[in-house]
């Protein structure tokens, strides 16, 4: 009898926990989503002041029209697209080449190469020496400063190496016997077999280049080279920017819409690409 009662009590407590846990998760969802929804709603809202609602009261696409028709706004967007595409391709090329060399077990100097890359992960010279190097190379105030330094990423190289390690060596060997050179093996066998790894690390690079802001703060102060992140920052900080006659009057809408434009490309790929992002993290974590 007592036993049965205890059991019921046990289930009751369990159900209570489930309900509370579910409610907590819903609360968490609200906390995460409201800021995003509010910005999206206000980007479509023609009203002069922000309200309390999570939907536009005077719906209008005006802010987005301003962004695509104002040179000061669409130019940074084009720079963002250009640096993301170029940077991702460059980053992938550098990463895959390095990782392919690192899986050559009998290569003389392989251990040295591996340490050479590993050290960049632990030590760095700091802001000022890096700035001075780029300055003396003539790369400050050019897009090279945005594209090149970020393309060498030790973490991505080791991640890629872990992926390549899973390709059966017999495939390389038979190709070599058939007389294929290392670059041929690389392009004809390794890359085609690594689609998932390329997607995963390519997405890391793409997000990194699309979100680039640090390199601009450090090395680039020419407005015509700004990417959309820097432009967005400028819009949020300076009301003066909004004196631009094409933006005036749309100030708040344009700010909100600029946030949305910065996020939208990512939101489109995120549902399909999420597993690639997580795959990269968990592979790295297990091997660490």
């Amino acid at each position: 009898m007592t036993h049965g009662f205890l059991k019921n009590k046990h289930y009751l407590a369990r159900d209570m926990f489930r309900i509370c846990n579910g409610l907590f998760m819903c609360l968490l969802l609200i906390l995460m989503l409201i800021p995003l929804l509010k910005v999206f709603a206000d980007s479509l809202d023609r009203s002069a002041v922000y309200g309390l609602t999570l939907w536009p009261r005077n719906p209008s696409l005006e802010a987005y029209r301003v962004i695509v028709s104002n040179k000061n706004l669409y130019r940074p967007l084009l720079v963002s697209i250009f640096t993301t595409v170029t940077g991702t391709l460059l980053g992938l090329l550098i990463t895959t080449l390095a990782a392919y060399v690192l899986i050559q077990k009998d290569l003389i100097g392989r251990g040295f190469f591996s340490k050479f890359i590993f050290i960049t992960m632990i030590f760095n010279g700091g802001l000022v020496p890096t700035f001075l190097v780029l300055k003396n190379l003539g790369m400050t105030n050019t897009l090279w400063a945005v594209l090149l330094p970020a393309s060498v990423n030790a973490f991505n190289i080791f991640l890629m190496k872990n992926f390549f390690d899973q390709i059966p060596t017999s495939l390389f060997e038979s190709a070599e016997i058939d007389g294929a050179s290392p670059p041929q093996v690389f392009f004809m066998i390794v890359l085609p077999l690594s689609a998932a790894a390329l997607a995963s690390i390519g997405l890391f690079f793409a997000v990194q280049y699309w979100n680039e802001f640090f390199a601009y703060v450090m090395y680039v102060s020419k407005p015509e080279l700004y990417n959309f992140q820097v432009k967005l920052r400028e819009l949020i900080l300076n009301e003066q920017n909004l004196n631009d006659p094409t933006i005036i009057g749309y100030g708040n809408m344009v700010k909100n819409a600029s946030v949305v434009v910065t996020v939208i490309p990512f939101l489109f790929i995120y549902p399909f690409a999420q597993r690639y992002f997580i795959q990269g993290v968990t592979v790295g974590a297990v091997k660490e």
Binding site: M25, P35, F113, T120, P149, P182, T282
Partner: protein, 309 residues
Amino acid sequence: MFPMKKRTLTLSWVMKKMYHDRMYYLMFLPVFVFALLFCYLPMVGVLLAFFDFTPFKFKFVGLANFMDLFFGIRSVNFWRSVYNTLFLSLSNLALGTILAVSIALLLNEIEQKKFKAFVQSVLYLPHFLSWVVVASIFTIILSPQGGLINNIFAFLGKERIYFLAEEKWWTPIYLFVSRWKETGWGTIIYLAALSGINPELYEAAEIDGAGKWKQALYITLPSLLPTIIIVFVLNLGKVLNIFESVFVLMNPNVLKVSDVVSVFAYRTGIQQANYGMGTAIGLFKSLIGMSLVLITNKINERIRGSSIF
């Protein structure tokens, strides 16, 4: 295929082997050159910390830059930035660990697969947004001119507050925004660790009459502990690196509570073009960061008898 005769490890064999593998060296060249230029050359550059180096001067001054930082005219701002850095990142780290572990534990209890996956997707999302975007979103929402929070305040008949420009609000807001962005991502590693716990442990505990709460206390938490410690130690090394998150949320009104070492180095070294001093601040930062990692690793070794390196 090159014959691998280990016995004949002569110079001529090495030369031949390297010539045979020349394509690989060529393929490594890009990463070699880039790392040399962008990672190793700046490492040599830390020597500038011992120079008085501005666009107009270049003179060896020994430890004068450090003396100036520690005891001289810059010391007030310098120690302030050290304090802020440690305070902000350590609170962030402690808060982050507690929140990520708790949320991972709760997520792990959700039985509806689809709901769980949806919550996870939403929680991970802000990790991929740039700090500029996140700061912009919260600047808009916290704006005194019609931001959502102030509108709620006004609706309730309260005074409007310029949150990001008030010292007492800035720190909690910084911590909240950092957690909003990164907590979800932090749960991934704990969720992976949770899924690796042997289910037989729970079955055995259930037979012994341990309730869910006791199981969490005596099985789940101890199993998570190694992961918690590893993540904590790895993050401790990065504690002094906070730059972008602070940079995009700070403004001159709250310099007192928000100036951190990297931002101080940036202002001194790059904005004021005092390269020697900026490098000295950076070097101080790297040395402290490295010792933090080594110390915590030592403590970890003492406690658990194993090193993570």
